[in-house]
Assembly symmetry: C2
Homo-oligomer: 352 residues x 2
C-alpha cells in the first residue's frame, strides 16, 4: 500500500504535512510518497528532528497550487505542481490513493481531469463523515456540486451508500434526503424529483431509502447517509463546524471562570476532549471525492499533523475498499437518462 501525499497543500504545509506523514508511517506502516519541493520537505523533516525513513519518499516538483489560482485551470496550467504530479502518479498506478490539503476546487477539477470519474458518474461528490448522536453519518454532497439535478442526487445516494458500507461497516445503511420536513411534498422541485427517484430505488430494494430528513433529526442519528445538494450540504457541514467552535469557546469560558471551575474541568477533561474531537475536522482527517475512479481525498485546509495522520488512515481505508468497482458495477441503476446542459462538456472527462 502506497499513499501519495501533497506536501505543499494547506495552511500549515509543508511542516505539518511532513510531520503527519512521519506519524502515519510509524502508526500504520504504510509507504508514503510526498510530492513537493524536495528541499522544503527535507527541511521540514529536519525541523521534526528526523530524516525520512525508508518507505517515506519524495517526488520532487517545483510548483505549488495556490488558493488564488483558478480552480478549474490550476492543474492544467501548473503541470509540475505538487497536486498535479500527485494526481498524475495516482492515475499511473504509482500509488493507491492521493491526499491533498490544498484548494478544494483545484483538487476536484484536477481529479476529474486527470484521474477521471467512474464511467457514468455525472459528478464527483464530497462525502465527509459527520458526528451524530447515533455515531457517524455520511453527508453527500457537501460542496462539490452547487447546482444539482435529481439524477446527481440519486447518484450521491448510491455512492454514499457504498461508501457508508465500508466506512461505517453497515450492511444496509439508512439513506435519507436532506429536506426541511419529513413529508414527501417538502422542498424545492429538486428535492421532490429526487425523492421520487430515491423512493423507486428503495422499492426496488437497491437502497434502504427512509425518506426525507431534517438536519435536526439527522444529527439525532436518524440516517447513515444524508443526501444533499452541495449548497445545503455545505451549509449543514459548516453550521456543525460553527456551532462546534462556538461551544468550544463557551466551554472554555465556563471552565476557566475560577479555581473551582478549573478543578471541575480536570474531573471531566477526558469527556470534554472527546466532545471537542467529535466536532473537530482535524480528527476526521479527510473527505473522499466519491465517484472519482481512484481514491482522492481532501484534507482540511487547516490540517495539523494529527489531521494528516488521520487522513492517511482514511486513505488506506478507501484504497482497501473496492468502492470504485462497486460503483461501476451498479452504474446502470444510477442513470435516469436525464440530459443536462453540461453533459456534452462533461462526457470526455469520464473514464474510458
Amino acid at each position: 500500500m502506497k499513499i501519495i501525499l501533497d506536501a505543499m497543500g494547506g495552511d500549515n504545509a509543508p511542516l505539518e504535512i511532513v510531520k503527519g506523514a512521519l506519524q502515519a508511517h510509524r502508526d500504520f506502516g504504510v509507504d508514503i510518497v510526498l510530492t513537493g519541493r524536495e528541499e522544503d520537505i527535507r527541511q521540514a523533516a529536519a525541523q521534526c528532528g528526523e530524516t525520512l525513513p525508508e518507505g517515506l519518499t519524495i517526488r520532487h516538483c517545483t510548483e505549488t497550487i495556490e488558493m488564488c489560482d483558478d480552480p478549474a485551470l490550476a492543474c492544467r496550467r501548473k503541470k509540475d505542481a505538487s497536486m498535479t504530479v500527485g494526481l498524475q502518479m495516482l492515475r499511473a498506478g504509482e500509488g493507491d490513493a492521493f491526499i491533498s490539503a490544498g484548494s478544494t476546487g483545484a483538487l476536484l477539477s484536477g481529479a476529474t481531469l486527470l484521474v477521471k470519474r467512474v464511467r457514468g458518474i455525472r459528478r464527483a461528490a464530497m462525502a465527509p463523515l459527520i458526528p451524530t448522536a447515533g455515531g457517524d453519518a455520511v453527508l453527500v454532497d457537501c460542496g462539490a456540486n452547487i447546482d444539482c439535478t435529481p439524477e446527481y442526487l440519486l447518484q450521491f445516494a448510491y455512492i454514499g451508500n457504498f461508501y457508508a458500507r465500508h466506512a461505517l461497516k453497515l450492511e444496509r445503511p439508512r439513506v435519507a434526503l436532506l429536506n426541511i420536513g419529513a413529508e414527501e411534498s417538502k422542498g424545492m422541485a429538486l428535492q421532490k424529483e429526487a425523492y421520487a427517484l430515491l423512493q423507486e430505488a428503495g422499492e426496488a430494494g437497491h437502497l434502504n431509502f427512509i425518506g426525507n430528513i431534517e438536519a435536526k433529526d439527522a444529527l439525532k442519528g436518524g440516517a447513515d447517509v444524508i443526501v444533499a445538494d452541495g449548497f445545503s450540504g455545505n451549509v449543514m457541514l459548516k453550521t456543525i463546524e460553527g456551532v462546534g467552535s462556538f461551544l468550544k469557546v463557551k466551554l472554555k469560558d465556563i471552565f476557566f471562570k475560577n479555581a473551582l471551575t478549573k478543578f471541575a474541568a480536570l474531573l471531566v477533561k477526558d469527556g470534554v476532549t472527546d466532545i471537542r474531537d467529535t466536532l473537530d475536522p482535524n480528527e476526521r482527517g479527510a473527505t473522499p471525492f466519491l465517484g472519482i475512479a481512484k481514491p482522492v481525498l481532501k484534507a482540511h485546509g487547516s490540517s495539523n499533523a494529527r489531521a494528516i495522520r488521520n487522513a492517511v488512515r482514511a486513505a488506506i481505508a478507501c484504497a482497501e475498499s473496492s468502492l470504485e468497482q462497486e460503483i461501476a458495477e451498479h452504474i446502470t441503476l444510477m442513470q435516469t437518462g436525464e440530459r443536462t446542459a453540461g453533459e456534452k462538456e462533461a462526457a470526455p472527462k469520464e473514464n474510458g
Copy 2:
C-alpha cells in the same frame, strides 16, 4: 398593550400556553387575550391552581387548526379556529400582536390572507434570533419561502435589517448573504444575483452589506443579519438545534459518569445551563413573520410555559417597534421591478 395568544396551538396546548400566559401577565404586566375553547382554558388555569386574573381574558372559539389541516386552506376553512379568530382580532385592532405555537404553514398563510403583507413586500419571512459567539443574530428567512428570487432576498435583507435594529439594538447591523464561501462568485444563480442587488444597496448606503458569509463564520459572530433562502436558512437553523441537542446528550453523559463528574457538574452548573439555554428554542420564545402588516409571531411547536412567556416578551418588543411602518416607508428601495410567476396571485394579498 394587548397580546393575542392562540391557546390551542402547539404540542402542549392548552396547559402550557395558559401557564405561560399567566407568567407573562405577572412578569410583564401586559393584557393577554387567549383564543380557544373557554372550558379548556379555564380547566388549564385550574390545573395551574389559578383563576384567570383581570387582564387575562378569553375569546371563546370552537375549532382548532390541526397539523393535518392543509396549511394553505386551514384559516379559510376553519373560520372559528383559535388561530383564525386571533388573526382576525389582530387585523381588527383588538390587540397589538398575535402569537401561535400551531402549524407554521397555516399561520403564515393565515397571516398573509387575513392580516396581509405590507404593501410591496413579496413574501413574509421568518426571522429567528440565532446564537453566535458574538451574541444573537437575525436569520432571515428560515423556512417560510422555499423557492426564492433575488428580489425576495433583497427584501429579506431590508426587513431583517430593520428588525435587527430593534431586536438587537444596533444602529447599523452588518448584513451578510449566507453562502458557501466569501467570494462574490460563490453560490447558485440566486445568490450571485442577490449579491449584486445587496452590493448596490450597500454602495448606496441603504444597508451595511458586508458580503457573503459562510455558516461557520456567521456562528463566530461575523454578521448581525444573515440573509438566506428559506431552504438553506432552515437547514442552518435545524442544524444548530440538532448540534445543540446532540451536545446536551453528550454533556449529560460526561457529567453523569461517576460521583466525581457529578461533583464537577455542580461546580459548572450555571455555565452549562447558560449554554443549554443559548441553544434552546424555548428560551428564544418566538419568531416573527417579518413583512406582515402587524406583528404575528410563531412560537416553537414544542413550547412550554417558559417559551410562551418569552414569546409574549418578544411580541411586546415587536409591537413596541415601528417595524411595519419603517418597512412601508422604505419599500421603494426593495423593489427591483422583477416580475415573478406568482405575482398575479400574490398581489391581492397585499395590504391595500
